[in-house]
């Protein structure tokens, strides 16, 4: 596993594409969300979304990478490389929609990645 922290607001974590390493990705994600003061429910949804994207069979290659950028209450994630067509799988879209809203496929060096962007809800939006 390698961890690269190019700036305080951006983190990239690369782990072997094996189920047992996804906990490491989620720990990093949990730490970032805590820094951004995301509510627990949003953190859990985000981690479940990442679990779903990186579920066995979806990564393409030996490693998977989570790139995260935090910026004023917003978190942008990039996950990959993924097997071709992963982003378009209706089942995955069905799961990601309620969990994180919109997601999109991104091509990078010939491989497919999934981009997710979430924002900390406003106090008013959280209430109730």
């Amino acid at each position: 596993m390698s961890t690269n922290v190019p700036a305080i607001d951006a983190i990239a974590v690369t782990v072997p594409a094996e189920r047992r390493f996804l906990g490491v990705v989620n720990l990093v994600l949990g730490g970032l969300c805590t820094r951004l003061d995301f509510p627990y429910e949003q953190v859990d949804d985000l981690q479940l979304a990442v679990d779903s994207v990186l579920a066995p069979g979806r990564p393409h290659g030996a490693d998977v990478t989570l790139e995260a950028e935090a910026d004023e209450g917003r978190l942008r994630l990039l996950l990959g490389p993924l097997a071709p067509g992963t982003a378009d799988q209706p089942g995955l879209q069905r799961v990601l929609g309620p969990l994180v809203g919109a997601s999109r496929a991104v091509e990078r060096e010939g491989a497919e990645w999934i981009a997710i962007e979430v924002a900390r809800p406003s106090a008013g939006a959280q209430a109730g």
Binding site: T34, V43, S52, A83, G85, Q93, R94, P98
Partner: protein
Amino acid sequence: MSVAAAGRRHADLLAAYHEQGDPAARDALVENLMPLVRSLAARYAGRGEQLEDLVQVGAIGLIKAIDRFDTDRGVELTTYAVPTIVGEIRRHFRDKAWAVHVPRRLKELNVRLSRLLDELTTDLGRSPTITELATAADVEEEDVIDALESSQAYTARPLSTPVDGEGGGDLLDTLGDEERGYEDVDDGSLVEAGLAALDERERRIVELRFFDGLTQSQIAAEIGISQMHVSRLLRRALETMRGTLEEPSA
């Protein structure tokens, strides 16, 4: 008995059970399909569980499959029963894994956090942040993150891979895009099999979260369980649906 003859025999017994309420027909079906249960259970033997225990767990799955089987679907009982039996066996392993793999310290903290999460959600009128949870539990934020992750780890079984290999998707991919559209997709039996592998509560939670769009806290209130329990059940359900038809890994 040929496969076709066995299929006809099963159909006759199912009709006798579902249409005439004949309990003897159900008993006969169970007896007839126990070799299938034994065969499936044997694939999971050697993982710390006695084969006979797994057979009994699998038999529960078989009975569920028989009881839930819809004779109008036009599929073989065995098509429907296999994922249900496998799902029951998988669930058994998941339930056992909690006690074995999660350190006591984290397990105890997780129990406290689960209670605090529900209390704070009610008190604040919103989901608390990790910092607020840590303060309420009088632990560090890292401890909260660690405990939450550990509680989820036991549902992340290495038993699951997609149905047909890399990039091939999983049972969730057969769900339609319309609200509750899974009855209408082409391979309805696959979807039915995936959902059938879930128990009633899991199926309800999946519908509420991914079809009705309720949040975890809303589902917790609807079902009457803790929010953290909803989270665990969601993970378990998705894992089961992803892996229910694949062969167990070595």
